[in-house]
């Protein structure tokens, strides 16, 4: 448990204010305020349909906000295109592992290497020593160092999740967003993933959506509970767990 004490006063890296999105009148996210600090592992929990995934979609530009602002390190994300948001330093992992199954681990990671991102850059991209080193380094980090030349669809479910995290790490993002990173993992994989998150949160912020409370406890610096598109409670895991409103929402379901 690394406590981020001492950084609390700094300006948050991500500041969501008054964020609203409505689908045909249904407000999936409603006047939401949420802040993620530097070097913080911030977990969002909430019952199904609370709008958790939608919040991630809004931050990374997959869904456009109806109103409100998302300030990331001084830049307004609601008006930016998806790939610009990524290039600004936001990485997003999807709920189901989204990797290129017919490429090798190496090629998967290389694909996310932040060079040759434009058409002609990609056309003339060369696999330099620098690229190879970076890929190997990230592969070590995500515990796939021995599987570099394995085709990705042969990996276990947990390894696929790690690979996707690794692909994000290749981009060296300021803010890493993970949607249910341990879903479908074994107990030992969960522990390893928690360690991984604690390692990689050094020097960057991580926003996680998760259901597994044990896992949340092991990684969260701060927890936000969403309910019907709004913040129901926020604070440390302990504080949130004892909050009567939260208990009611969870038990009420």
């Amino acid at each position: 448990m690394n406590s981020p004490a001492g950084f609390q006063a700094a300006k948050p890296v991500l500041a969501i204010e008054g964020l609203t999105v409505s689908f045909d009148g249904f407000k999936a996210v409603n006047d939401l305020n949420l802040y993620v600090d530097r070097n913080e592992v911030h977990v969002v929990i909430g019952p199904n349909g609370a709008g958790k995934t939608t919040v991630l979609d809004l931050i990374c530009g997959k869904t456009r906000a109806t109103a409100g602002s998302i300030d990331f390190d001084g830049r307004e994300l609601t008006k930016m295109r998806e790939f610009d948001i990524v290039r600004a330093g936001v990485g997003r992992k999807f709920q189901n592992p989204s990797i290129y199954e017919n490429l090798t681990v190496f090629e998967n990671l290389e694909m996310s290497y932040p060079a040759g991102r434009k058409v002609f850059g990609a056309l003339f991209f060369k696999r330099t020593q620098e690229v190879i080193e970076r890929v190997e380094q990230v592969a070590q980090e995500i515990m796939l160092g021995d599987h570099l030349h394995r085709q990705a669809d042969l990996l276990s479910h947990g390894q696929k999740q790690w690979l996707e995290i690794g692909m994000l790490l290749m981009q060296d993002p300021q803010l890493l967003m993970l949607d249910e990173p341990v879903a479908g993992m074994s107990v030992s994989e969960r522990v390893a993933t928690a360690d991984l998150l604690n390692r990689i949160s050094q020097g960057r912020s991580v926003l996680v959506i998760e259901h597994d409370m044990e896992f949340v406890k092991s990684i969260a610096h701060r927890v936000t509970v969403l309910h019907q598109g709004k913040v129901l409670a926020e604070g440390s895991m302990e504080a949130v767990q004892s909050n009567p409103k939260v208990i009611e929402v969870y038990l009420g379901h």
Binding site: F23, D24, A28, T54, D57, T63
Partner: protein, 305 residues
């Protein structure tokens, strides 16, 4: 004063023409809208299913005039019903043999059904000859209805219109009110879930496809009153039909109706004020431009994917 009343008459007839083009487009598109909208399948042979209906009508008409001339005035109803079942049955077969194997690959369905349309065209040619044929229309379908001295409302136009309204209403009832429609919609929303609650999704697919083809057959039968019947007649309709469905947003019957309406009105007005060729170019260009600005079509709900 006389000029004014004549102008009124022309305006009325032109208004009717717009409606009539609308009904033709809608009738062409209904079958496709069901198949494309509900199943996501692109049936490039849709035009040939129209042609099946047209040839069915021709055969019934010839048989009637040779064997049961007294039945002449009424054969058309029989032809429409037969067209529905014949086109539907062939559609059922096609779904079984081809489409059902391609559900995961929409673009491939498009190509395979194109191949099917070639085969069907040559089939028509082998059976009925390369020349166009003409079904003898019963007298009550010919000529026009004159509400006033100056206004001629074509009876076949009225007939197509009535048929379109009837068919659209029936389809609405089937899809949005019947148990079967519920199953179709459930299957389209979530195949796995539908299967797990006991819906035979294969059967639903097959019936939906057959229904779409059957509706195309009815349209083809109706079109013998206003157009030609030949082996390649179906290809005249196919692009217009697709544009109507795509422009409408593909997923809702309402969208198809609205899009058929707007395309028909635009076409009809432009034809009246410019000329046929230019009207076609303007209308198609406008549709493509709008599709570029609004690729999801005129009507489609904003949803979280």
């Amino acid at each position: 004063m006389e000029w004014l009343s004549e102008f009124g008459a022309i305006a009325a007839m032109q208004g009717f023409n717009g409606l009539s083009v609308f009904c033709v487009l809608l009738l062409m598109a209904l079958g496709l809208a069901i198949i494309f909208g509900q199943m996501g399948v692109i049936n490039m042979a849709h035009g040939e299913f129209l042609t099946i209906g047209a040839y069915t009508t021709f055969v019934v008409s010839s048989l009637t005039s040779s064997y049961a001339p007294a039945f002449g005035p009424y054969y058309f109803f029989l032809a429409i019903i037969l067209s529905f079942f014949i086109a539907g049955a062939i559609g059922w077969l096609v779904e079984w043999a081809m489409i059902s194997k391609l559900y995961q690959r929409p673009l491939d369905t498009l190509l395979a059904t194109w191949g099917l349309s070639l085969v069907m065209q040559q089939g028509f040619r082998s059976i009925f000859g390369a020349r166009e044929v003409s079904a003898t229309l019963p007298d009550w379908l010919m000529g026009s209805w004159n509400p006033t001295e100056a206004i001629d409302i074509p009876r076949n136009g009225l007939f197509v219109m009535g048929l379109t309204l009837l068919l659209t209403a029936l389809l609405f009832l089937m899809i949005y009110r019947s148990r079967w429609g519920l199953q179709v919609r459930a299957t389209m929303q979530n195949r796995v879930m539908a299967r797990s609650v006991g819906i035979n999704t294969k059967r639903v697919d097959r019936m939906t496809f057959a229904l779409g083809c059957g509706v195309a057959g009815v349209a083809g039968a109706a079109f013998t009153t206003i157009g030609s019947t030949g082996p390649t007649a179906g290809s005249l309709y196919i692009v217009d039909t697709f544009l109507v469905v795509v422009f409408g947003g593909a997923s809702s019957l309402l969208g198809t109706i609205a899009s058929a309406f707007s395309i028909a009105q635009a076409q009809s007005l432009l034809e009246f004020f410019t000329s046929g060729s230019m009207a076609k170019v303007f209308t198609l260009s406008a549709v493509v431009l709008i599709l570029m600005l609004r690729p999801q079509g005129l009507f489609s709900a904003k949803v979280r994917k």
